[in-house]
């Protein structure tokens, strides 16, 4: 009596994508969002090309962190409110797969657009061309890690669960991602070997995929005791 509700990865991936993308404009929105935020930076800081180029790696990565933070919050809270979290927790199978499905959908809607858009932002910020490929690769891996870590924070801070302190503990985990992510780009700009920091990001991703779903599972099961 296998049930769609418990259908795991692809079922939740598909549903969350559907929820996010109801019409064509929904697809364009994350792109515009990134364009807008990155347009803020030169307006607030200096618009000279060389100065922007120096800042570019860091800024792109800060953008990635911000966008994840901004969006990951509602990953589970909508489901809690309308009762579909309850239904998900009722699944006879391991929750790991549905959770990963939801996170994958989140990444496809936030991390991937940012990754694809990053060359354009690079042009805006006069980033050297050699750094474009490393930037894309580091973003692809790194934003996935950010989604995973963010989901842990989201599960712990589900409304009224009082996990604020735990969330505070989770947030600093973004720092290593940020450091190695911008280091990848910076190394490429400086003509150094950029595969080393990238490899570290890949390792982060492997660890995060293994551990985060467990933490999220535990966090979600607490939500009902609020």
């Amino acid at each position: 009596m296998y049930n769609y509700l418990s259908g795991g990865f692809s079922a939740y991936l598909y549903r969350d994508l559907l929820l996010g993308i109801r019409n064509k404009t929904d697809l364009v929105k994350p792109l515009i969002f990134f364009l807008l935020i990155s347009a803020l930076v030169p307006l607030a800081i200096a618009p000279e090309a060389e100065r922007l180029a120096q800042l570019a790696p860091g800024i792109i990565w800060i953008l990635a962190v911000l966008a994840t933070l901004l969006s990951v919050e509602r990953l589970f809270s909508d489901d809690l409110q309308d009762g579909s979290l309850e239904q998900m927790l009722l699944s006879p199978n391991m929750l790991i797969l549905p959770i990963l499905g939801k996170i994958a959908a989140h990444w496809l809607m936030i991390g991937l657009p940012l990754t694809l858009l990053s060359p354009l932002i690079g042009i805006w910020f006069s980033l050297p061309v050699v750094a474009v490929i490393p930037m894309i690769l580091s973003l692809a891996l790194g934003t996935a890690v950010l989604s995973l870590i963010g989901a842990v924070g989201a599960a712990l801070t589900l409304p009224r669960q009082g996990g604020v302190l735990l969330a505070l503990l989770v947030m600093p985990l973004y720092m290593p991602v940020l450091i190695f992510g911008s280091a990848t780009i910076q190394s490429a700009v400086d003509g150094l070997d950029w595969t080393a920091p990238l490899a570290i990001l890949a390792a982060f991703l492997a660890i995060a995929i293994a551990l985060c779903p467990l933490a999220i599972n535990a966090g979600l099961r607490l939500a009902k005791n609020g």
Binding site: N3, Y4, G7, A11, L19, D82, G83, E86, L89, L90
Partner: protein
Amino acid sequence: MAATNILKIDNLAFERNDTLLFEPVSLQLNSGEALHIEGANGAGKTTFFQILINLLEPSAGSIFFRGQTFSKCRYDYLSDILFIGHQSGVKATLSVEENLRWMSPDNTSAEKIALALQSVGLEHYANMPCYRLSAGQHRRVALARLVTTTASLWYLDEPFAALDKQGVAFIEGCMQQHLNSGGAMVFSSHQDLVKIEARSYRLQSYREVM
């Protein structure tokens, strides 16, 4: 069909902040039987359901499903139950049909879905996003699962809320049919039932006056 024991509850108690919520519950449920959980507002019916579906842990007592303790048959149990609570799990931005498909077993045919929608009177609303539905229609989307589900043990927390008379009659029909085909169910309702014969169990609130 010989009635087999489906659910057995032994001295189930639930404490919150060191206070019992209701008098310990002991119950038996056989196939083909319906159990109507009664109790005033705040007696603990919803809490009781959440214990049954393993979202909350009981403070004492045990639950047996088809003779096995819960921990031994977690998978079988969870794949054989259906729960519809106060919040019905309907996604507001998905359409009626998408919601039903999503909440139905994997291999549900398109005809079955269409049939379910027709039974709850939403055949003309298949493509409408659920946030545009009226309160009762919203509830009907969730209840359409009763037609598509294959679970044999139903937990329905206030299934009749927001439904009009004809809707109540239809749901009662569904429930009766489920019982006839050997299913079992536990439900709560503040309204009196018309069609179904159900054993009723009154949750006794334990609350001492503070």
